[in-house]
Each structure stands twice: as C-alpha cells, then as structure tokens.
C-alpha cells in the first residue's frame, strides 16, 4: 500500500524528527546516528592505537583492550557503515525513482528505532558489572559461550546486534519495495540510476543473508542460556558458516551503495553520461551473486571447507570488480573533470580501494592466507576496503548530496583540507599494518614485546590514526560552519543528471511538484542535451 505524503506544513521539533514518517527525515536520522557512532567508534580506535604505539600496557589493560576492539569492530560494521549505506538508500532512492514516498514509511521508521535501540543495548554492556562483550565482532563459540565469556554485557551485545541488524533488514526491504512498486511510470528498470541499481543488489544481499546472522545469534544466545546448540564437535564450525554467510556479503553491503554513489559523482563532475551502464548493471548482479558464494574463504585455516571452490569464487570476483573500475574510469575519459571536493574523494577511493581489492585477491589464495591469517595484514586489507574504500566514497557522497539534503554547500576549502589530511592519515595508519602482518604481528592483541621489531611501524600507524582523527575533526567543523553560516545551493548546484536534482533543496514533503520526462538513467542530462 502506498501512502500519500502530507502537504501540510512540515512539523518541527525533536518528536517530529524522532517519529517522522517522511523518508528523508528517517534517512537523516539514520545517517546522523551512524555518524555520531562513527565518532564514538573512531575514538575507541584512537585509544587502541595509543595502547599499541609502544610495547607494554600504558593506556588500558588487556581486558579493556579486548572490550574496545569488540566494540570498535562490531560498532563500525553493525552500527556505522551498514546504516550509512541504508541511510543513503532511504533518503535518495525514492527521489531518484521519482516517487513521492518510500514504500512502508512506518516500517522504515521502525527499522531506525530497532537499530537505535540495538546500539544502546550493545554499548550498555560497558555499564554492567562484568563489562562489555570481548570476543570480537564475530562472536565465535566456544570463546563467546557462557563459560568463556560470562556476564550480562555479552548477552546484551548479542541481542543488541540482532536488533540493529533486524532494523537494517526492515529498512532495506522498504528500499527494495520502493524500487519494485513506486517507480515513476516511465522509470523502467533499465532507466534506474546507477546508485539505485547498487541499492537493488545491496538489498537483495541484505534480505537473503541478514536473517541468517540473526538466527545464528539467537542460537548462540540460547547456547549461552544452557540449551546447548553449538556444543557438539562440529558446532563452532557450523556457527562460523552461518556467521560468514552474513559476514562476507555484508562487506559488499557496505561497498555497493557507495560505489553507486561514486558513479553519480564521477558522471556529474566529469560532465559525461555514465560509461558502460549495461555492463555496470550486469557486473553488479554477477558481483553480488559471487559475493554470496565466497564466505568460507574466511575459514581456509579451519580445514573444514573445500578450499578450491571458495578460492575459485573469491578470485572470480576480480572480473566484475574490474568491469566496475573500468566503467568508473571510462566515465572520466574524455570528460571535462571538475576537481571539486566530491570528485577528490572519488579519486581517492579509486586509488585506495585498489590496494584493498588487490590484497583481497592475495588473501583468496589459500597458501598466502595460511601465512597471513589472523595477522595485521588482514586488518590492513579490510581497513583499505572499508575505511579507505567505503568511507572515502561515503564522504564523496556527503559532499555531493549535502546541498540537496540541507540546501547549503559544505565549505570547499575545508573539504579539500579534510580530503588531504584523510588521505595522508589513512595511508599512514593502515599501510604499516601490511608490513606488521607480514612480519608476523597477530591481530586482536593489546601488547607485544619490544624485541619483536613491531614498535616503529606501530608508532607510525598510531600517528596516522591521530592525523585521520584530525581530518574527521575538520569535517565535523565544516558541517558546523556550513550550517551556521549558510551558503545557499539552489536546486541543482552541480548540474546533476538524476531526478533528485529536479526538485528543491531540501525537497518538499511530497518530493516533486512535477517530474521531467524520463528517457534514460540520466533524465536531467537528457533535458540539457535536448534529448528529452
């Protein structure tokens, strides 16, 4: 059932925001909450990096360190990057398909509240007597069972993650239903913008994998209550299969939406139509399907999986990934590129994600994985994909769409400074981790010996973390300054190509007064080129 957006004056105040059914408000709420949690989890990372700067325990004890890396890892994945992706989808998909509303606005709001309450439950473990969960974001049994990880904090973490993941599942169902049911009449599937296609494959992965994680966590909680689910000899491996069946696709759930956003940014700032649209669509579908079949490459060293199959599918992913890279770069070729802040972040993504992607192919090879498994090399790899990749693309999207959401520009000078420090800080933080891993430093340890030869690289990494934090500080300051001293942006400040730029900034409650003709995936470009 579709809803009719109210054309009454937009209600104001805290309650009007917290209980809003307007998809734009739900999107902003979800995104803002995730950004606040980004700062929280980033701060936890700074404490961990401070501890690792030198051998010995200076800042926190080992038990607290374990709690911190659990909160940091699970917070970033369950509460920050996935929700940021969903926030973009909830806000922009209805606009980009020419809909007046999201499908199931109450469900979208419900999704936000499940996510928010899940976050509170996860962190409330720090207030309990036994402390917060400290078994890593994966919660593998038997480490996470009630014998090895007793206490209310661990239970609250498990239930909190289940709630947050369910919230994201609900929002993702709303996004997909919007694409299925509420597209403007002329908006066929092959006229969907690249970002919407990215959201189609993302939501398909969410709908098919997130329930598996919830089931795994509920079974684990039952296990902790004494039911005995994963206590048999094959139990821990079975849990790992259930977990990674969610745990690997979620990497792409945290990737595709940002690549889709990047497609819009690069096309707009290259002043060109997106290159290889159909190839991009097919590669997204193939990429997403392959990413569902690679989960057990995380388990090569368990000896419980068929390495050949999972190595083959993991390596095959390089093909659709290469096509997507080719399309993104092809869009720039021959374009008249504007080097505004969103484009700088897009170029930063293309450079840095390549490092994350290529080291992923290395880890898809079982012999190399045996050597590097559970080392800092793996930490470097996934931070190059998730931070240097997804977060750079997210910042590109933020600088690009901020004028649409708020009606004002972010400051360009501060944006460029933010990019510069983030680029330097990211590489300073994460590149030494490759070398540390290669030298044998294991992940998830709060201390090492001075004689191990890890000190110099760890110190560089810690300095890099503080440079990164400074860069994020510039971004926060930029948002504050830009909202206080407003520089109006107008409806279409960048010369955008998709429908969200055909309405006011910010858009009205009902999104559009009228839609332009839709003849392709770039209707506004068609209009400018006289093709409409």
């Amino acid at each position: 059932m579709t809803t009719v957006a109210s054309e009454r004056p937009v209600p104001r105040g805290l309650v009007a925001w917290a209980a809003a059914t307007d998809h734009k408000r739900v999107g902003v709420l979800t995104g803002a909450t995730a950004l606040v949690l980004l700062l929280v989890n980033g701060s936890l990372a700074l404490v961990m990096r401070s501890e690792l700067a030198w051998p010995g325990t200076q800042v926190v004890g080992l038990k607290t360190y374990n709690e911190l890396f659990t909160a940091h890892g699970s917070g970033m994945i369950y509460l920050v990057v996935t929700p940021l992706a969903m926030a973009l989808g909830v806000y922009f998909v209805p606009l980009m398909v020419g809909a007046a509303e999201i499908s199931g606005p109450r469900f979208a709001l419900l999704g936000y509240w499940l996510y928010g309450c899940g976050a509170i439950a996860m962190y409330s473990g720090f207030l309990t007597q036994e402390g917060a969960a400290r078994f890593g974001w994966t919660a593998f049994p038997p480490l996470s069972d009630s014998t090895n990880s007793p206490g209310l904090g661990s239970d609250l973490w498990l239930l909190g993650v289940s709630l947050a993941v369910t919230g994201m599942f609900v929002q993702s169902a709303c996004i997909l239903a919007t694409i299925v049911r509420l597209r403007a009449p002329a908006m066929t599937m092959l006229r969907l913008p690249v970002f919407c296609w990215a959201m189609v494959v993302t939501t398909l992965m969410v709908l098919t994998t997130f329930p598996v994680l919830v089931v795994a966590l509920v079974l684990l909680e039952l296990d902790r209550q004494g039911v005995g689910v994963f206590t048999s000899p094959g139990g821990p491996a079975a849990y790992q299969h259930l977990f990674w069946f969610y745990g690997h696709p979620v990497v792409y759930v945290m990737f595709f939406p940002f690549v889709g956003a990047l497609g819009e940014v690069i096309a707009t700032f290259s002043r060109r139509r997106f290159f290889g649209y159909h190839a991009m669509v097919l590669s997204l579908l193939a990429f997403a399907a392959l990413s569902m079949s690679v989960w057990a490459h995380h388990m090569f060293t368990t000896g419980q999986v068929t390495n050949q199959y999972f190595s083959l599918t993991s390596t095959l992913i390089a093909i659709p990934a290469g096509i997507e890279y080719f399309d993104l770069i092809g869009t720039m070729v021959g374009g008249s590129i504007l080097y505004r802040t969103p484009m700088l972040f897009a170029l930063g993504f293309l450079t840095l994600f390549l490092i994350g992607g290529l080291t992923g192919i290395m880890l898809a090879s079982p012999p190399i994985d045996y050597h590097l498994h559970d080392s800092f090399f793996v930490v470097a790899h996934f931070h190059y994909t998730l931070f240097a990749g997804s977060m750079f693309a997210f910042f590109a999207a933020i600088y690009y769409w901020f004028p649409k959401v708020t009606g004002v520009f972010l400051r360009e000078g501060l944006g460029k400074l933010h990019f510069l420090f983030l680029f330097v800080g990211t590489n300073l933080t994460f590149f030494p981790m490759f070398l540390l891993g290669e030298k044998g430093m294991p992940r998830r340890v709060g201390d090492y010996r001075g004689t191990d030869g890890f000190t110099g690289l760890n110190l560089i990494s810690t300095i890099g973390a503080f440079v990164t934090a400074f860069a994020v500080g510039i971004f926060v300051w930029n948002v504050f300054v830009s909202l206080r001293r407003r520089e109006p942006a107008g409806a279409d400040p960048w010369g955008g190509q998709t429908l969200e730029w055909a309405t006011t900034s910010p858009p009205p409650r009902h999104n559009f007064d009228a839609l332009p003709p839709i003849r392709s995936f770039a209707p506004l470009l068609d209009l400018r080129e006289g093709k409409a």
Binding site: V4, A19, D155, L182, M189, M292
Partner: protein, 109 residues
C-alpha cells in the same frame, strides 16, 4: 530486465548455478542449504514482485509515535531475554499498545 521480477529471477538463477557448482565439491547439507536457501528466497521475491500491486493512495501522518512505541517495545522485550522476564513483559505490553495505536492510525487513514 525491464521488470524487477526478471532481475530477481536472473539473480536467483545465478545463485542456483553457484550452488550447483558447490555441490560438485561438497555434499554438506549446511553449505549447500545456505546457498540454495538464498536462491529460493530470491525466487520467492521474484514471485512477490510479479504480483506486487502498483501505487495506491493512503494518507500517512507526518509523525507516528505509535511506530516508535512499537519499536521501543520490541527492543525492550528482546533485551529482557538477558535482563529479566519483567522487561520482556514491559516490552511486550508496550509493543501491544504501539500496534493498537498503529491500527488506529491506519483506520483513520
């Protein structure tokens, strides 16, 4: 590819093909079940998309406190599993009140 159901069908087909390939390597019920389950789930989505109704008009209020109440109620009930039965009961009660209020909103639409 012009209809969502076709897109879901293609994606479900790809998953099924990958599941068949996996079956050539291992007959593990869990491993094959996960991939086949996802493929079947996608095919069900394709069916749902095929029969999905187009937009229809229904008024939705700008603010829905009933939905918030439902969400908070569910969360409290779930947290109650760890904290205690009393919280499960409080959460379940709030959820019921929230759902009743949502129903009232829908009736008034």
């Amino acid at each position: 590819m012009s209809r969502p159901s076709v897109v879901f069908l293609i994606w479900g087909g790809l998953l099924m093909a990958l599941a068949l390939l996996l079956f050539a390597w291992t007959q593990s019920t869990l491993l094959n079940g996960l991939l086949v389950g996802a493929a079947v789930g996608t095919l069900v989505l394709a069916l749902l998309a095929l029969f999905a109704r187009g937009p229809s008009r229904r008024f939705v209020p700008d603010v829905s406190l009933a939905t918030v109440l439902t969400g908070v109620g569910i969360a409290l009930a779930v947290a109650g599993v760890a904290v205690g039965t009393w919280l499960v009961l409080v959460g379940a009660g709030l959820t019921l009140v929230g759902l009743a209020a949502v129903a009232r909103e829908l009736r008034g639409a």
